[in-house]
Symmetry: C2
DNA sequence: ATTAAAATATGATATTTATCATCTTCATTT
DNA sequence: AAATGAAGATGATAAATATCATATTTTAAT
């Protein structure tokens, strides 16, 4: 309905890493177990984020995925765009090719208004910003209450 | 990003039929040609709408798909729900199973606001309401300007 | 009655997305 | 240096969605 599954996984995983704090390396198996996600698939997704430098990784023993201050300050929008592509926020809601402000589809203005809004939210929320609410038990990343 | 292709096709086709006016029967080939959509697939989609009584049809020579006042007054939301299912507006944006107001994911409130807005628009816009703007050249259903 | 033109029903194929599995590369510990 | 445990790369499979194709049923005109 909104993001692809890959994108959902990417968001969960980065928020999860953020929650673990600065520079804490976590292996894919642990992330997948805690978030209840298929490990190998999540791995692929994270590798895309690594390529986009939205997540860091180190190989070898005691390696894993992690974030530093730099990654923690990036917006959630960057995660979304890295996985679902740059123009999921531009594509016409009715699938009309050259739908635009000048030549809109019947839903263009309605959809655009609200989309711009969510775009704004995602571009203004940093990965780090989700952590405190999660730690306070205000929001959750999985069915299970705590990890 | 929002609706499935099937749903996009359904919306286009009903708006197209609305534009043709009351009781005007149009065959699938003509609809598909005018909207630039794959005819056989569109056919399948329209048959779902027929089953939901959102579109009427008559078989045989001079048959086709059409709308009456009754169908014209139904909301766009009904089209969407018939094709993409009842709960595309409820499913958690991050894919968390029991995400809810009490136990929200980190994006719950933002996404909910967005979706509620779209839901409101769709439930308040009738199929017929899209016609005049299309006829006035304010909005469009396909690349081609007129049909 | 026959025929033609339409929807309806159904199944096969293709494409996209998601998942599973395996092998390679690399860094760290011993 | 060797062994281990992690990410990285790649390919195979499965599932969901979209598309293509065909045979059947129905209606209306002739």
């Amino acid at each position: 309905m909104f993001f692809s599954k890959s994108c959902e996984y990417a968001l969960k995983a980065t928020m999860y890493l953020a929650k673990q704090g600065d520079n804490k390396r976590v292996g894919i198996k642990v992330i997948a177990r805690d978030l209840n996600l298929p490990a190998d698939y999540l791995n692929k997704v994270l590798q895309i984020l690594v390529k986009h430098k939205l997540v860091l990784s180190s190989k070898g023993r005691y390696g894993g995925f992690y974030l530093t201050k730099n990654e923690l300050n990036k917006s959630l929008l960057k995660i979304v765009k890295a996985i679902d592509g740059k123009d999921i926020f531009n594509r016409c809601g009715m699938g009309i090719e050259n739908c635009s402000g000048e030549k809109p589809c019947p839903l263009h203005n309605d959809i655009k208004a609200y989309r711009d809004n969510i775009l704004f939210v995602l571009s203004n929320k940093s990965v780090a910003s989700t952590t405190s609410q999660i730690n306070n038990g205000v929001t959750f990343l999985s069915k299970k209450v705590q990890m």
